[in-house]
């Protein structure tokens, strides 16, 4: 396909300008931002409790083992998914050349989702001290949210699908840009994965406790747990990056074909990976080997995405000095490559024998959900929200601070866990070292982790403050070009257009 054709497909040159209301964008945005601060704070408390285990020691709902799942689930379902929704509401109408099907339905979706997360978090912290299976945690990683809140989240997701699919159906451009494929993948896979992970084990139950036992339960748990990252967070986040990277860099996508290869291999390969969470576990040997092989096959979609993104900003690297959304996307893409390579190699038996069960894995999983997808979400918000509110960003300086706090804080956070975790894994394999000595060994690393985490939280607070001021400071409506100039990218845009 000729370069001219690919350039002609770019969404950066829509034939006519539609006026988008973007109300649904704003509602979902504030749900996400509120939960970002809430669950970010819980995350830092989780990290501090490693250092000061007696912190709030007699407060039951602040127990480490209750805020930990509330933090993990909250960051995925309370922050990432609402922000994905918000950005989908922003980019899908623009890519389809039509208005959003229903702004009202979008607002209702945000409310349903926010209530669902609130109920779920209350149940996970469990101040009512119940062991009622419909109100308490399911006790399995990534699927802790109790059934009552699963209902809210499922209804909310179906409302989102209805809204966006109707928008797809009314599109005026026949060509579907790569980002739209990823949005559609995210919508469908999330629905499949969420239902399979949360419902059958409860519905087949005869006595309230989960209906699947033992290793069936574990296998479904990890099929689901891995897919939460691979088929919910990944296609959504990559969809955002595919749209906002060419937009923010004002540079056409490098290769349309690569994006298609990346999309279909992602869908075909990721689903096979769940069992690599149980390498050397009690599951059959063949299942572990299959998971290892497919973990390495993941290099195909990962390299296609990374090549495509770096190709897109070829010749545009100078923009990284001033362009905050671009900084987040490029840092996120570097982290995406690192975390995916880490993931493939961790599936090798020899490495898994050392790092499995250690803090190394915690550093790894944060690189996916924070270093990559949260960074993409930050970039998307910085690009889209000034345009949704039709005002320039309140402060580019604060945004820059946000980037460096997030970036350096995360480097400290994860490097401490990788180094400490690997060493702890080696110590565990020597049975002469008492377990408690390996715990004491980790303590300096946990201090560093809490410090890095605090910097990440400070960045989040600056971010939300910046967006809040952008939304509330009174200013006359600015046009797309005026916003671009205010972002310090006027000159680049003028050059590109000339």
């Amino acid at each position: 396909m000729a370069i001219e054709q690919i350039k002609a497909m770019q969404p950066s040159a829509p034939p006519e300008r539609l006026q988008h209301e973007d109300t649904a964008v704003k509602w979902a945005l504030w749900v996400g931002l509120g939960y970002l601060i809430m669950f970010g704070t819980l995350g830092v408390i989780t990290a501090v409790k490693f250092v000061i285990p007696d912190l709030f020691y007699s407060v039951q709902w602040m127990s480490w083992s209750r805020i930990r799942p509330a933090h993990v689930q909250g960051m995925i379902f309370g922050w990432l998914l609402p922000i994905y929704m918000s950005m989908f509401y922003y980019m899908v109408p623009r890519l389809c050349g039509t208005k959003l099907y229903s702004e009202k339905l979008g607002k209702a979706t945000s409310i349903v989702w926010a209530i669902g997360i609130l109920i779920a978090t209350y149940c996970l912290l469990n101040p009512m001290n119940t062991t009622n299976i419909f109100l308490m945690t399911k006790g399995k990683e990534y699927e802790e949210y109790p059934l009552v809140s699963n209902v809210f989240l499922l209804v909310g997701w179906v409302m989102l699908m209805w809204n966006l699919c109707n928008t797809f159906a009314r599109r005026t451009y026949t060509q579907m840009y790569a980002a739209l494929w990823y949005v559609m993948g995210c919508l469908l896979w999330t629905a499949f994965v969420y239902v399979i992970g949360n419902w059958p084990s409860q519905l087949f139950s005869t006595d309230g406790v989960g209906g699947f036992s033992g290793l069936n339960d574990a296998n479904i748990n990890w099929f689901y747990g891995h897919s939460v990252v691979g088929l919910i967070a990944t296609p959504g986040g990559l969809g955002l990056a595919y749209y906002f990277l060419p937009k923010a860099a004002n540079s056409p996508l490098y290769s349309h074909k690569l994006s298609l290869i990346g999309f279909w291999t992602l869908g075909a390969i990721y689903i096979w990976n769940g069992a690599h969470h149980m390498i050397y576990g009690p599951i059959p040997y063949w299942l572990q080997t299959v998971a290892t092989i497919f973990s390495f096959l993941l290099f195909i979609p990962v390299l296609s995405v990374v090549t495509n993104f770096f190709g897109t900003i070829r010749g545009e690297w100078h923009q990284l000095r001033t362009n905050v959304p671009l900084k987040f996307i490029i840092a996120g893409t570097v982290f995406y490559f690192l975390v995916s390579s880490q993931g493939s190699f961790q599936a090798l038996r020899s490495l898994s024998a050392v790092v499995h069960f250690t803090d190394y894995i915690i550093g790894h999983s944060h690189m996916a959900l924070f270093g990559t997808f949260t960074f993409y979400a930050y970039a998307a918000v910085y690009y889209a929200i000034p345009r949704a509110y039709k005002k320039p960003l309140y402060s580019e300086g604060i945004a820059d601070w946000h980037f460096w706090l997030s970036f350096l804080g995360f480097i400290v956070f994860s490097a401490a866990l990788w180094v400490g975790g690997y060493a702890q894994g080696q110590m565990w394999n020597d049975p002469n070292i008492p377990f408690i000595e390996t715990v004491n060994f980790m303590k300096p690393f946990w201090h560093a982790r809490a410090g890095g985490g605090a910097a990440m939280l400070l960045g989040m607070i600056l971010f939300v403050w910046n967006i809040y001021k952008t939304a509330t400071v009174p200013a006359p409506p600015a046009s797309e070009d005026e916003i671009r100039v205010a972002e310090g990218r006027g000159a680049a845009a003028a050059q590109a257009n000339s």
Binding site: Q175, M176, N221, Y280, N429
Partner: protein
Amino acid sequence: MNLPTAERSALKTGLGVGLTFVVGLTFTMLIPSFNENWSLNTLNPAGDQAHYHNPYTPQQLRGRLIYQREGCVYCHTQQIRPLEGEIKRYSIGTSLAIPANEREYVYDRPHFLGTRRIGPDLSREGGKYSDDWHYSHFYYPRQMVPGSIMPAFTWLFKDHEGTPVPTADARDLVAYVQTLGFEREVYDPKTYTAANGHADGWGPWLKPQDRQASQQLGENAVNRITPGEDHSPVRGGGEGKTPADITTKP
């Protein structure tokens, strides 16, 4: 432009997305679920069940719910990998800990395999410490294990004339913890070699003498454990702490 039709059809994209999902689902989830060692009775009816432990009692099942509610699984795995360091570290007395086996989980709903060892693995924990050690440890872990970062579970105790007394929740939880690993066969350290512990779970530990030794271990644990009002500190394993110690306010 001559584009493939799928790029212009949302419906075909959706069908493709669904198809990739179903194929992966079939091979990694549905097919393994027919493994006869994963299920309870439906595919592998009585007879050669080779149960690796007895069904949980109602009290132990309540204990599992407390374990689930308090989130113990986030810090404690319940699987021994077939690695030399691991089977030695989690040994039971002088016997090596056997690696995790497929059948030992058939009564676990939900599973507590775990993903993170902030604390040690618990799958061979039963009988290693006394009930009283566990009560003291749950009340304030650092008085039993200095340096521990485990949370204190003070709400599992109620105040009785200035002394914390375990509630029913605590007793159920300890009853469950004490089942972990017993009636699960142990390797004979003399005949064990690294080669016969392999990852698909069928180790050669079903030898009669091993089974007998294991049952003895389990019976010892059972006889010492009578959760109730009587907390006589006769059970071995602890650090010589008696119930009086749990009056220590952290």
